[in-house]
Symmetry: D2
Subunit: 391 residues, 4 copies
């Protein structure tokens, strides 16, 4: 039965996260231990400690692994509130790419793998990186172009390849690698492997400079040269990597939408406050329709995005795959948030292009979201195909 | 608790209306008894008889007055399905402006007024017109400019004024008039009156030609010259007309969104079928991204609009005024539907500019919706004010 | 040397056409002899007579054939001024599709063909239709799908096929037919033929109802059944029809842009006047930024379109093909004009959806322009290819 | 007479600048002596030396002051070619804000002032800053809010105030200050003053971090505390500062459009090359319409902007003020360039958000242009007023 009310538990979580972000996180936003590649590790650990003290660590992970065990709708509420600060999700250990991989590990990893890699991961003790995307000529929007190869060698695989734009590699404790298995004697094809970053044969070639600056560890070029991994490090089954990537991506796309809903709301609040108090041509600038209409459009965009997110989260809670809906959410939210951020920059005028408010940073972060997790064009193409297949 | 599932009753209503429209109404869409000013009265009555036979008349009116007594969410479901044909809502006696006025009368009219005006209205025996908007210099987007005057004269009022763009006047049995009471000895100000169209002193000056062609009776210029109405014809209380207009408008805006969601979906289905079957440059045109992306955008627009409508309907079912939400829904839906219709015209190419499919007509209808019930600009201005008032 | 000044001759032409439209044509715009399919023939002839009297007939045709013999830049100036009224180009015998075909005949036809068909055409004595587009499955955006066939039979060809959306067929004296020659013994392929509409074997199946209503004769479905044409009726050479279509189209696209620049300007002037004089919320509506910004955007769109047109016309005057530039002009202008018309409807509010001003009609005409002469998608695709071919 | 051809001289300048940028400047783009606040001074001087050697210094300044003495149309051609590299205009000493102030000084300054300030300025020996914009509550889009005060004190003025977002202050040799004269005994009001940055009473409070990173010296907060300037340092006349600001701004807005046309073209070329060579889903990504259409839109945007710039430059060469046209150019170009840059980021996908190509930097630079020199909203408002004043 159609219902848009939050349960008491959801309201309680929402209230608690909101308060935590307001009281503990926002006051730390200007900590100097952040740069172009996210927070330094000691700062990240301090933030995690605050979240743990507030009982707000890893909302999306099962309680047995140290998380809060929330449903997708509850996650929607919690992540939006967390995302109100760019460092909120880092504090609560629910930022990308870690959050999506934790969820995937919980579904796919063996018990032993979970003990070894998920438990310290969920607690914030370690970070990871997800090594899928490849440079020019390799796997990107088109995953069939995967070039990294894992050659079977007895009880081991030997992995060679180059990965690119790998978020969080710098400072990660382990990595999940997507590689094409060759000659396994069993099932070949795209496969995921777990490997400690300290393993011989893993090298960070360089950390890329990028338009965004919030992801812990930034984005790197990662090289595998003769990396040996044991069969026990295969995640799930051989040849199922492509399917797992989808298992990971559909909700991961959506959690991005949730967190960045909070961030877009933050930009809107900053711009609204400015529009209320800054005067020009005889009145607050918000009373000029040129500015006021942008505020109205922001409100409408935020409203729609929240509903779209809740709907998809509810579908996931019903056990549905929600691939189409999460694609739609990804395109709608990423484009709406960018419009919002762009309008906020414009409302702030000269102030909007400086680092003196968060808006400039939010604008840069949100630009990237139109590309991460599949650019709009790839999703529109998939949606078109599903329309053509017919009703 | 967040829930997007329809109840069995809602699914039953949805199924029944969908079937009714498909089997009884769509086959009659090309009946020649329609023109630039909607269906002729005998055709309308035939359609109403079909809806009555199917138990689908006046879904929004209480059962005691002959309707189906649906909640707002149920109305959302029923109206969307009805709107899939441009003449569906006319058949089910839930088209504008009648539908909004029935709902208002049910809330505000006296028992005697309801017996006299609402009962035959709900059954489809008669139509009405709502005489509010005035020509140049009078009440339009800015209702404070109301010029039509009702002068108290003992137990009567004498009404003089000119109304413009009055939907359905041609062929209406009665009208609801918005006039400024002057010298009532009681409360002056904007007031609503009920009057039979056959009364001396009411004259249809001319029927306007307009871009749309679906509204029964079209849109007219209506003149009141010394129209005498008895005090018993005051709807509700003196001086409360402005407030009642809002009571009428907030849900009426939303029901427009509901019906036209069906119509926009119809256009999208026509365009999708065309894109699947029409070939150019070696493949179905829908497989060209230039076309396919338009289909994807249509899907996303329809998806968002449905959620926004359901949310606002749910708020109304909770007894909330939902003024801001229905303003947002009005802007979002009217602009999204127009984009959809515009894309469908483009997908159809030359076919899209002809009357050979419904799309051309839908395009014209939906253009007008960006103006009816308050143009986007008036709603954006109101939304901006509410943002500036602060959170 | 970059120069944006009009010559004295151009200023004189511009002044003369402007005056003619203002004094002779606009006062006749409401003549009842117009309907959904353009002006009736007697009305058209009256308008032509006025233009002849003013020395303003067929500006684009050589003086030896009865026209004004203008250059492309001069045509740009004259057509913009003519297009300020929807019936201006009809009056001056420079409306589509006649204008484009006159230009093509002048370039390609034999002397005998010119005497027979071009001379009475240029003077306005007769109209024609250009029979290229075919229904579903035939030639449209993709001309390679041409289905109409001309079978060689001695000194004759026998033509069979169905054409669709053929502008001006109703009331035309002759037609130019695009057909695929089969078995000519010489060069096969797409070929153009001239034929009198009165010939046995030509039948107008029906006149389509369309969103636009200005083209003389409307748009029809035209059938050729065993139409016999003599070899002397081949226009130009066998198998060259595709090339001639391009010869016709590149300038014809541009003249559409010219005429409709005038019409878009007309809508903008009507909306500007309204915005200056209509009050709401305490001031002229144009002083509300929501309206004022639309006026500003109209100004900017008109400004850009004029420059783009002048540039392409100048290229044509230099003897350049200007295919890419006329494609760009077509997309830019058709989309800009539609935005302008759409804004004007919105500025006029309720008035904008009625026939009480020309704006509603202009809006409908301009919607069709985004499809006529190749929809935007086909031009964007061609432009993309030219970018990819490299600089 | 309408003409879009470049003269031989213009072609020669264009060729020479293009070659200079290609051979001398682009190879130096990755010089490490650049950061978030533009090039270091030694690097700037090296670039200037290269331009001087090529005879390409200060194209907009009269030859008697060391420049090339070009007309506005010639400047358009030269600046577009220079702007193809972000450091091209810096090399040729024609970047903002210096370029606009040189032009203003040449028009307004006394001979003595020119000798003292313009000559070393034009040669690139020194840079300057233009101190007009003030923080919150002061002069920004609304210049009437000017708060900085110059109090007359005999032969001197004493200036107090705070300026904000002052481009190039760091490293500037002198500044032009806009201040409100109070009690001059003559004409009060907004007035411009020339002052060396080394003067006591001038202090750079801080250098702002901003979204852009190309302007030499970045953007600073500048404080005047009891700054004493002699009457000979008044630029032009007392009370004429507002008018001079307009004299400076109309062409300065346009030169921004010129330089950034080059930069937008650069982004488009990078994206086109990428679209040609990067494969996905079985073909070069540019052959997917989703990407190809973006390339087509870029071409059209660049085309229109160039024409609008040339037109306004030509007007300025005719001695016209061209205030409306330069406002239109500013809005049209800044918005088009941003769309172009945004599309280029999207085409490049993951590569587009990294610093590995120039596109990410160009995107950030161009976002700021929608605010610098008056945000779009202020220009739209001015354009609306001019429409309302009537034709």
């Amino acid at each position: 039965m159609i219902d848009f009310s939050l349960t008491e538990r959801q309201l309680e979580i929402q209230g608690r996260v909101t308060e935590f972000i307001r009281d503990k996180i926002i006051p730390r936003e200007n900590d100097p231990r952040q740069g172009g590649h996210g927070p330094q590790d000691d700062f990240r650990r301090e933030l995690n400690a605050l979240a743990k003290a507030a009982g707000l660590i890893a909302p999306h992970v099962g309680e047995e692994w140290g998380g809060m065990g929330l449903s997708h709708v509850e996650i929607a509420v919690a992540f939006e509130a967390a995302g109100y600060s760019p460092i909120g999700p880092i504090a609560m250990n629910c930022s990308a790419p870690d959050e999506g991989s934790m969820a995937m590990l919980e579904k796919i990893a063996s018990q032993a793998q979970k003990e070894r890699w998920l438990r310290p991961f969920a607690s914030g003790e370690v970070r990871h990186c997800f090594a899928m995307t490849e440079p020019e000529g390799g796997a990107g929007s088109d995953p069939s172009m995967l070039k990294t190869v894992a050659r079977a060698d007895g009880e081991h695989f030997v992995i060679d390849g180059r990965k690119w734009l790998i978020t969080g590699a710098q400072g990660a404790a382990f990595t999940i690698i997507m590689a094409r298995v060759d000659g396994s004697g069993e099932k070949d094809g795209a496969t995921m492997f777990l490997a400690d970053m300290a393993s011989p044969g893993i090298r960070i070639e360089r950390v890329l400079d990028t338009i965004d600056s919030t992801f812990a560890g930034g984005h790197s070029v990662l090289v595998f040269e003769g990396l040996r991994v044991h069969r026990s490090q295969v995640l799930g089954e051989l040849g199922e990597g492509g399917r797992y990537a989808q298992v990971r991506l559909a909700p991961a796309r959506l959690t991005h939408c949730m967190r960045w809903l909070g961030l877009a709301t933050r930009a809107h609040h900053i711009a609204s406050d400015y529009a209320r108090t800054r005067h020009a041509f005889g009145k607050p600038i918000g009373e000029h329709e040129g500015v006021g209409f942008m505020l109205a459009d922001n409100e409408m965009d935020l409203h729609q995005c929240r509903l779209v997110i809740w709907h998809t989260a509810w579908l996931l809670d019903q056990g549905r795959r929600a691939g189409t809906e999460s694609s739609m959410a990804k395109v709608l939210c990423s484009e709406a948030y960018f419009r919002i951020a762009d309008r906020c920059v414009q409302i702030l005028g000269g102030m909007g292009v400086t680092h003196d408010t968060l808006v400039e940073r939010i604008f840069r972060e949100l630009r990237a979201f139109r590309i991460y997790d599949g650019p709009s064009e790839v999703h529109r193409w998939a949606l078109a195909r599903s329309v053509l297949k017919g009703r």
